[in-house]
Amino acid sequence: MLDQSYYRKTDEIIEHYGRKAGSLIPIMQDIQAEYRYLPGELLTYVAKEIGITEAKAYSVATFYENFSFEAKGKYVIKVCDGTACHVRKSMPVLEALWKELGLSKKKHTTDDMMFTVETVSCLGACGLAPTMMVNEDVHPSMTPEKALALIEELRGKG
């Protein structure tokens, strides 16, 4: 059961975008920005409030890659595997992160909820390939060593 505050926050977000079917995606984006994931209960609630079926809401939420029904870590690391980054060797960076954090293709988030590691198709900083994004900051010219040093730094910050 989610705390009442979750519903109050959701109400605020719904008010901001208006109670209409077209508001579904921005509402879900804001909920996810707030809680770093999309709690299923809230999606059901939103569907009812904006007048669409629960099935419709889930069909949209599962279509887009950005929505996650699982809680993400405090630091969401997106390793870019766009063409430019790929040919400048982005995979070793991803593999180093996976190894260090005990993650894999199937397991994206560490058990202590500190790190989520994902890949992304392009961050738009191709000139500095390979790149990766930690929350909203883009880090240029990555190497496995730099990635591991960054993890150490973030761990230090807590």
Binding site: A21, T83, A84, S121, C122, L128, M133
Partner: protein, 628 residues
Amino acid sequence: MIKNKDELLQVRKEAQEQVAAYDCRILVCSGTGCIATGSAKIYDEFVKLTKDTPGVVLDFAPHDEGEHEHVGVKKTGCQGFCELGPLVRIQKGDEVIQYVKVQIADCQEIFESTVLKNEVVDRLLYSKKDVHYKHPEDIPFMAKQTRIVLENCGRVDAESLDEYIAAGGFEALTKAMFDMTRADVIDEVDRSGLRGRGGGGFPCGRKWKQVARQPEKVRYVVCNGDEGDPGAFMDGSVMEGDPFKLIEGMMIAGYAVESTDGYIYVRAEYPMSVARLRHAIAQLEERGLLGDNILGTDFCFHLHINRGAGAFVCGEGSALTASIEGNRGMPRVKPPRTVEKGLWEKPTVLNNVETYANVPKIILQGADWYRTIGTEGSPGTKTFSLTGSIENTGLIEVPMGSTLREIIFDIGGGLKDGAEFKAVQIGGPSGGCLTEKHLDEPLDFDSVKKFNAIVGSGGMVVMDTNTCMVEVARFFMSFTQRESCGKCVPCREGTKRMLEILEKIVAGKGELEDLDRLEELANMIRTMALCGLGKSAPLPVISTLNTFRDEYVEHIVDHKCRAKVCKAMRRFVINPEYCKGCGKCAKNCPVGAITGVRKECYHIDPKLCIKCEACKDNCAFDAVYIEE
């Protein structure tokens, strides 16, 4: 509030006086690339230096006659040379000095030498073969470009409406609104020959015309900023570098087709584009340039931003409008086309960011002027993001019809570290690879199609001989397979089967018949998929199969990857000169592929070896190597 045309002229006059009153402007590149290398801190440092220096003022009123130096610190759009960031330009009147790779520690020196005196800091200039280049326009990377869309990037403050107006902003809109009829505007765009810059190359004016003649009076203007091609960042650079120009282009479209609402769909991975656009829209609304009765006329235009949510297919028109409506972003069968039934089933002008950004200049200088640039069939310029194995990576703009040789060797400076050119991939996952023999072909919408590639949105990834073309084909296929929305069978199932075959070949288990199967599948998808993205999904495979068939055959028959990229093809060998016969590798080998006698050279059985690298990683004497 800017209530009418005269007031806008007044604002422009004041804004120009204000800009001219600066003794010096420090222009800090604030594109995604330079922000990533730390330009935000450089900006803060310059603001601090300016504030802390006696006799220098940062903010001042126009007509300020005080006895002090007026220094402005501005955040500009992408200055282009991303790899050498953070980039800083120091502008005094017409003289602009370009500094590259500026660090926090350099700011003080730049400030004291260049800003306060007129001394150049040589070590921060761009240099090549012992030549130092002082002005941005002298650098070969910049000198050969023609900047229309990116004109303001690097010159004006990307966050300031006043600076945009001072640089001639909204002159085109007022010309359209006050001196031209709606039909004139559409006609001018039509005659200019401007074609959709998102990749399709559909004539923009024809689209506008079709929307304008619909009986339905509620119309929408939509901008496709869902730049999903990996390796492309031109549209992102325009949205964050010159948001006002894009908006002005959309407003002109809105005026021309009598639309009152516009939508910009920005991909989720571009938070800065969203922030800059929001900031721009807020300023325009506050000043009355967006909203009801713009400049005292009956033209009303409201602009909304929709953020994407990570679906590549939303770059397709009907999927994009579905996504704005709050649905799954899936393409639909056409006709009806977007111009007849687009967003919310209403006639919709849907163009890409770069297309709109071309419009103000076309209106202002005319279609005839525009046609002097580029080629007969594809007038104007095209922006490209130049990346991969190239000396100068960055954002460029060249006339249509430029050759690959000009782009890669003259502007791009050739391959990185003198590597050997192999291919250039253009058009992303919908495009193909061009090679040596295409270097002198003029690049425009029609010519490139002949080589099974597309100009696309403008991603250009240069590859050297260390790139395996089979692996590149597999990479793109895995991308399109992952991004296939699943609505039509040819794309959903076809890309999956193609990917399986490519994975098989890369793993060294391919058969020659696989190549025929690949071609058959490719042709099926190309003709039968529902949307443009599906139809073009097999292009990377088709074009590599055409040009690099021998590499595919090598992988299959000889189990050899000449670029030494495919792990399964590599052959691990122990060098008898270095091997001390300690046996550590044999102990570490998980499949028992290494045998030998102590104190003598060990041997790896290639048939058993799974290429895990455990032997190579743990050898104390570096005796294990990958055979050339």
